[in-house]
């Protein structure tokens, strides 16, 4: 039961999804499975959140180092959840003017956008410390990156003005040809990797997800 049911379930669902791609009447089944998928996904997210609360609750209860931040996590979660579920007009909770929207725009958005923006600093530091023309391969990576970084902004356009804006055109050329070729090889490789992995999963060979007793 523990091992067999998951394997059989995966195989049935997987094969149905593949066949439905070719047999239109099976679309009904495919649509149903997809809807279930999203229901299960919602529960999966709830499971994750429950875990988060349990971990932080435990931290507070045991007065572990930094427990006050655990309180911040739980309070933050509770406030936005209660407001979003009960006080923001149901399904239209995201409309401008709702309390949920206010929290979203003034807390969630600045926090997440700033997290993204931190990347600008890390990119700079990584370029300085990690990007070395160690060998031919790394030099090619660097060379292409250089031409693109300069060619794709107005600076490259001016700098190479005497050369007929060569830098800007070189950037376009790299994107159109060598970049596309390399990209395509990666894509085709990944496609085969996915196909093969999917098949292994459906055949029950790759059973990491159903591991254990």
């Amino acid at each position: 039961m523990r091992r067999e049911v998951p394997l059989v379930l995966t195989a049935i669902v997987g094969i149905t999804m593949i066949i439905a791609h070719f047999i239109p009447p099976l679309n009904i089944l495919k649509n149903l499975f997809e809807d279930w998928f999203f229901i299960i996904a919602a529960f999966a997210i709830y499971l994750g959140i429950l875990n988060l609360i349990l971990i932080n609750g435990d931290k507070i209860y045991k007065k572990q180092k930094g427990w006050p931040f655990g309180v911040v996590v739980i309070l933050g979660f509770l406030v936005i959840t209660v407001i979003g579920i009960f006080f923001s007009g149901g399904k239209s909770f995201q409309d401008p003017g709702t309390p949920f929207y206010y929290i979203y725009m003034n807390l969630y958005y600045p926090l997440s956008a700033t997290m993204f923006a931190l990347l600008a600093f890390f990119v700079a530091s990584a370029s300085y410390r990690a990007f070395r023309a160690r060998n031919v391969e790394a030099s090619m990576l660097l060379g292409a990156a250089f031409i693109l970084m300069l060619g794709r902004v107005p600076i490259g356009y001016w700098v190479s003005a005497g050369l007929g804006h060569a830098l800007a055109y070189a950037a376009d050329w790299i994107m159109d040809f060598p970049q596309t070729a390399g990209q395509r090889a990666i894509m085709i490789g990944i496609a085969l990797g996915v196909v093969s992995s999917a098949l292994r999963v459906i055949l029950g060979l790759e059973r990491a997800y159903s591991a254990g007793e």
């Binding site: 229901i39 979660f77 250089f146 596309t180 085709i188 997800y209």
Partner: protein, 218 residues
């Protein structure tokens, strides 16, 4: 102070809180981080509740129930109960003895994905790209297109050779694989350049928020 002004102040202070990490890890950052973790968990809870749980599960059952009440017939929408059943199995993970039941839901998820991605990747990332690579190596009267086509064909061909697993990269085969990895590296270079571009743009947005919207300096 209007709600909007207060909002900008809160946003700006939290922005500085996150940025303070750049100097060093500190309580101000830890607070902002903890708040972010809590708020994002709450945000996703609310979003999944209204946009997955309610429309896909609740609404379908409500429909089935009203059909039963008004017309007295058992509607096929009841089948969504089974989806909910799998969902609940997922939560059983928290009950130690029967936690293994959550694997059934997982199996369902994995099967759906495997099935969907099988055909999709084979077509869009496989066949379509192969077809796109079939080009004449000589376009009469068009030097640019000729060179471009040669590069695309050679680059894709050699790149694919690099990914062969069952053959040692030796001799001509190894040479081709090496050319392939060069193309792959140029691709990575392009990604690097573009990613730098992207990150800088996001920082511009944040700085504009701090200096323009919050402080109103220009």
């Amino acid at each position: 102070m209007s709600g909007e002004v207060i909002g900008v102040w809160i946003g700006a202070i939290l922005t500085l809180g996150i940025f303070s990490f750049l100097y060093k890890d500190n309580p101000f950052y830890k607070f902002s981080e903890a708040l972010f973790v809590g708020i994002s968990a709450g945000y996703w809870f609310v979003v999944t509740f209204w946009q997955y749980f309610v429309p896909k599960f609740w609404d379908n059952l409500a429909l089935a129930y009203s059909e039963l009440l008004t017309k007295g017939r058992v509607d096929y929408h009841w089948i969504y109960l089974l989806g909910g059943f799998f969902g609940v199995l997922m939560l059983l993970r928290l009950v130690p003895k029967i936690g293994w039941l959550s694997r059934w839901s997982l199996a369902f998820i994995v099967g759906t994905t495997a099935g969907l991605q099988f055909t999709r990747y084979l077509e869009s990332n496989g066949i379509r790209q192969v077809v796109g690579t079939i080009k004449p190596l000589l376009v009469s009267g068009n030097m640019n297109a000729t060179i471009g086509n040669i590069i695309i064909v050679v680059g894709t061909f050699c790149g694919l050779i690099y990914f062969f697993f069952s053959k040692e990269h030796k001799g001509a085969f190894g040479g081709a694989a090496r050319v392939g990895i060069w193309f792959i590296m140029i691709t990575f270079g392009a990604f690097f350049g573009y990613t730098v571009m992207s990150r800088m743009s996001l920082l511009i947005g944040r700085m504009d928020y701090l200096f323009g919207i919050w402080l109103g300096l220009y």
